[in-house]
């Protein structure tokens, strides 16, 4: 039970840390100053949530683990983040669609977690839920603006949507860990999260005059630590300083 909770919290924490780091790479590169600040704020929200979750995971793990050792001393095969979170930012359409698909998933997942039987997980979820609601508002507005924008913005959004769709199946692929935590009332039912997600996402995609992809092919592997080639480069950058100077303090 304890090990499955640890595994589950690591998955949540890793996804938040990695997508937060990805977004933080846009700091100073936003299309306009205001969006640059918004994107960086959202990156900070993800890193904050990831830190809370990895703090919890470290306590479950014991043996002197901390959020820092989990974030900076694990290699890619030990990272459990969803594949979509490690994908490079691409153009602004790609970043927007990636964030939108993930934000809506987080919205319904964490809505469920605010009712978790696990008190610490519940409190972490309650703390982040309002931020997640704001993330959805932010990215949904960009979906509409760019999907229903110019011919070029529409095409770029549709291309990004078609490419990213294959990474959404993994959101809802429940394994033994999810099933056990669902039975114990710790984790929400992923099939319920899926149907809410699909309704919400379809609604915005239609309003944005985009076409919902029909492909059912789904990328997978993150649960076993099998990642795309992109995660290694991301971790190399993210982990360089603490690995090079393990005793550094600031």
């Amino acid at each position: 039970m304890q090990n499955n909770t640890l595994e589950y919290v690591l998955r949540l924490g890793d996804s938040s840390i990695i997508i937060g780091h990805r977004l933080s790479q846009l700091c100073g590169h936003g299309p306009v100053l205001e969006e640059d600040i918004a994107t960086t704020n959202i990156a900070l929200d993800f890193i904050g949530l990831g830190t809370n979750l990895l703090d919890y995971a470290a306590d479950l793990q014991g043996n002197g683990a901390t959020a820092d050792t989990l974030a900076f001393m694990r290699g890619e095969r030990h990272y459990k983040n969803l594949l979509i979170t490690e994908l490079p930012n691409g153009d602004f359409a790609f970043t927007t669609v990636r964030q939108f698909l993930f934000d809506v998933y987080q919205l319904y997942l964490y809505e469920g977690l605010t009712r978790s039987n696990d008190e610490r997980l519940r409190n972490i979820a309650l703390k982040s839920y309002k931020e997640i609601q704001y993330h959805v508002r932010h990215t949904a507005a960009w979906m509409l603006r760019l999907g229903d924008g110019t011919t070029e913005s529409h095409e770029r959004m549709q291309t990004a949507l078609n490419e990213l769709w294959a990474y959404t199946g993994e959101f809802f692929a429940a394994d033994a860990v999810d099933s056990e935590l669902l039975t114990n009332g710790v984790a929400p039912d992923l099939s319920a999260v899926h149907s809410k997600w699909l309704t919400h996402v379809s609604d915005i995609i239609t309003q944005a005059t985009l076409t919902l992809p029909t492909s059912t092919f789904a990328q997978s592997g993150s649960r076993e630590g099998k990642h795309s080639e992109h995660l290694g480069f991301l971790l190399a950058e993210m982990q360089y300083l603490p690995r090079m100077y393990p005793d550094a303090k600031w």
């Binding site: 306009v32 205001e34 969006e35 600040i37 918004a38 704020n41 508002r137 507005a141 603006r145």
Partner: protein
């Protein structure tokens, strides 16, 4: 570059219920929703208030520097226009 700039919106924040909104600054945005979100990210992240307005800067009519004399100077020698002769009850906070 400047012709590519998005329109400017002025941002007003109400700190607590019952007091006027105060000018906080401005943001660039293509529409009202984006202006509100940008304002939230620039001016609302540190518990600044409970309500926010965004107004297109072009909707504001301002007095000019040349107006300053006729608008404001006549008040200088009329201290009775300032309600400094009244006792304010202790309970009144926002006057």
């Amino acid at each position: 570059m400047s012709e590519n700039q998005w329109p400017v919106w002025e941002v007003f924040i109400q700190a607590t219920p019952g007091i006027p909104h105060k000018h906080a600054g401005n943001v660039h945005a293509t529409d009202a929703e984006m202006a509100l979100q940008n304002a939230r990210d620039l001016y609302g992240r540190r518990n600044e208030g409970i309500n926010m307005w965004v107004v297109p800067a072009t909707a504001i009519t301002a007095s000019t520097p040349e107006d300053q004399g006729s608008f404001f100077d006549p008040a200088n020698d009329k201290p009775y226009r300032h309600p400094t002769f009244y006792k304010i009850p202790d309970g009144v906070k926002y006057l």
